[in-house]
Structure formats: C-alpha cells, structure tokens
Amino acid sequence: MSTNVTTYAAQVRSALADLSAEQQDDLLEDLEGHLLEVSEDGDLLERLGPPAAYASELRSSAGLPPATAAPSRLARAVRSRLERLRTRAEEVPGGREAMAFAPELRPGWWVVRGYAAVLLLGAVTAGDGQFGLSSFPVPTAWGSSVLGALLTVAAVVVSVRLGRGTDALPASRRRAVVAANVALVVAGTAFASEVRDLVGTDAYYYQAANPYTDILSGPDGPVKNIFPFDALGRPLRDVQLFDQDGRPLSQLLRESPDGRYAEPAIRFGVDGQPKPNVFPRDYRVDGYDAQGTPTTQPVPPPSVAPPVLAPSPTATPSPSPSRTPTPTPSASPSR
C-alpha cells in the first residue's frame, strides 16, 4: 500500500512541475500524510481520482493558474527518476536529516558561485598564460587584480540576491539558472585541470635550474669565456677553474662570442668525464677533420695587454679550495 502512496505522490508532484519550488513545497508538504490516511480508508485511485486530476484540483483551489505547458516526456521521466532518488535517500538512516540540512548550504554555494565566476572571467581574459592567477587568491580581470577584487564583491552580491530569489522565479527562469550553474561548474572544472597542469610543469621547470640565473655576469652582460694570463702577461691554456667550494666553474653562457656557436668544445679528463671548467674555451666549428672528429676553433683572446704583475707580497700560494682538484692533464683530442 505504501508503494501506491509514493507513486501517487510522485505523479501529483510531476503534474505540478512547472511551479516554482516554493509553490510546490507549499502545496505538497501535507500530501503524503494525507495520502497515507486516505489509503487506510480505501484505494487511492477510487477515493481521489487520478493523480493528474488531484493535482489540477489542488492548484485551482489554491488559486494558482492551470499548468502552462505539459512537461515533455523527457522532463517527466527525469523528474520521476529524481523523485524516486529522493524517496530512496530519505529512507536511508540519516537521509532525511541530510536532505533537510542540504538547503542550509545553499548560501555558501551562492558565495562560491560568484567568486568562481570572476575566477573564470580572469582566466579567460588573462594574457599572461597563467590563467590570471598571478595574484591568487585574489582573482584578476584583464590582468588587473584591483578590478578582479571589485568584480568579486559585485558578483557575490549578485549571486546571493539571485539565490534568494530563485525559488520565486517561474519555471523557465529557474531552469536557466540551473543550466548556468551546471555550465559554471563544468567550465570551472575544465580550467582547474588545466591550471593543475600548468602548476605542475612550472614546478618541474623551476627545478631544472634556470640556466640564465646562475650565469656569471660582467657589467656588460654575461660571461662567455675566461682568458687566464700568468704574472708576466702570457696567455695560459688548459686552465681548470674552481670556485671557493670546489665546484667547477661552468656557469658561463654557452654561446660563442660571435654568437654563432652554442656549443663550446668540451674537454675531457682521462677519466672520460667532461670537464666544462677548462679555460679558455674553444668552440666547435662546422666540419670534421680527417679522423671524423668535429673540428674545434680556438678563440682568440681579447685584445687586452694584461700588465705584468708586481711580485706577490705573500710568499705562500693562495689557499686552495675545499676540494683539491686532482690535476688531470687534458685529454686529447678534445671532442
């Protein structure tokens, strides 16, 4: 018998589908209790007539206009399915309480909705390839976080007012609001996954140390090569340089002075390991010699005449770096 009540109630509800949620609740809140009592006295259909007739009698005596448009088959099917879900949810222990609590979360959703809409706007109008998140959590709009903040306040206000008034809207407007909500969630999810990728790759790139921040710089630009001279001003070759921590000095810009070659010719130690801190660097030239090894071009030293130094005041050599490099004669041929 209770199945009949549920079915009957669902059909009455669906016949009132074009009314606003508030109006439906008003008309239907006592319905199931009423149907239960009537069903105790006899068969529902006999005593009350078909659900559609009941619904139309109910709405006309309540002073409401008759159904505007018969909801489509699809709409009715969707609605009856939702009804069945709702009754199932209420039968679960705690389900009724959860369903009763859900409306209290609506204002929170209105606030989130306004904020998310501005975030989405910022992502669409950003020109920085970062989806307008440069000042997250403050959204940007056309790159401006001030504008983004102002729009957020306005959007939240609009969203809350819309939320409070949604129940009183006619059915077609309410459907539009629901559709807009769904569209916002879908678009937001799509952007969120794109942003996640962006953040991911950013972190990845950041770890592969930015090659340009560590480069030695002189007053006129990055250092590309080092030309050591001895105390008498004679140019030195095959000098291995290390910093104060014993690290090989290799953070030099890789391109050759005339900008033509990006690859310095790397020298190798007898251990077979590349030694990038041998100066002055030679550069690879297009072409191969008879043995098939790429030819290298020594770079002429800059046209400076280094002075002859006065003898050093300290008799002992300058302190060696923490890790004394093992002297390795440069291997030949250089690759």
């Binding site: 809140e29 319905l31 009537v38 109910l58 309540a62």
Partner: protein, 110 residues
C-alpha cells in the same frame, strides 16, 4: 443539481466555519465537511483552499509531531479569519434568502 459548482463558490466559507469550531488538519477538515452533509467536497479542493486562506492571512498554522506517521499541519482561525467568516456568513445568508424568495415566487406561479 450538481452541487460541485455551488460548492466551489462557498468552499471558503465552509472551511472557515468548520475551523471556527475547532482547529483541524487537512483530512480532518475534509471529514468534518462530509459529516456535515457535503459529500461532494474533494480532498484536493480542501487542501488547496486551506493553503490559499493561509496565504491570504486568514489562518494560523502549526505543526503537531506524530510518532506513527508524518507530522500534521493544523490550521486555525485568526482574527482576520474570524472577520472574514462573519462577513462571508452575512453575504451568504443574504444571498440564500434572496434565492429562497426567488424560488418561492417561481414555485407559486407554477
């Protein structure tokens, strides 16, 4: 003569009159109306009328919890409802008297 049409015009008055005796919930009001002789009154009509009168400010309502079933919503007359009842009673009485006179005259002629 089909009383359904007649009933539609005076259902407000009938519902108000029932509630003057005692507060009631939907199905209770339906039963009392039928017991009073108005067999034709439809359940849905009574419910809709109760909601409309409540919306118009003529009724108070309160929910009475119940252990065995869903909670029941009780309605009662408030001051505006009692005033409306008095006014509609007067209107009805005068209308009924007029109709009675009209019919009597017709009957006499025939």
């Amino acid at each position: 003569m089909d009383t359904t049409q007649l009933l539609k015009g005076v259902l407000d008055l009938a519902v108000l009159a029932v509630l003057r005796e005692e507060d009631g919930y939907g199905y209770d009001v339906v039963r009392r109306l039928r017991d009073a002789g108005l067999d034709e009154v439809g359940d849905a009509s009574v419910y809709g009328t109760l909601r409309r009168l409540f919306g118009a400010g003529a009724l108070t309502s309160y929910v009475v919890p119940s252990e065995e079933g869903p909670h029941r919503k009780y309605y009662g007359l408030n001051k505006a409802g009692r005033a409306q009842l008095d006014l509609q009673t007067k209107t009805w009485s005068s209308f009924a008297d007029t109709m009675a006179e009209l019919v009597k005259t017709e009957g006499k002629r025939a």
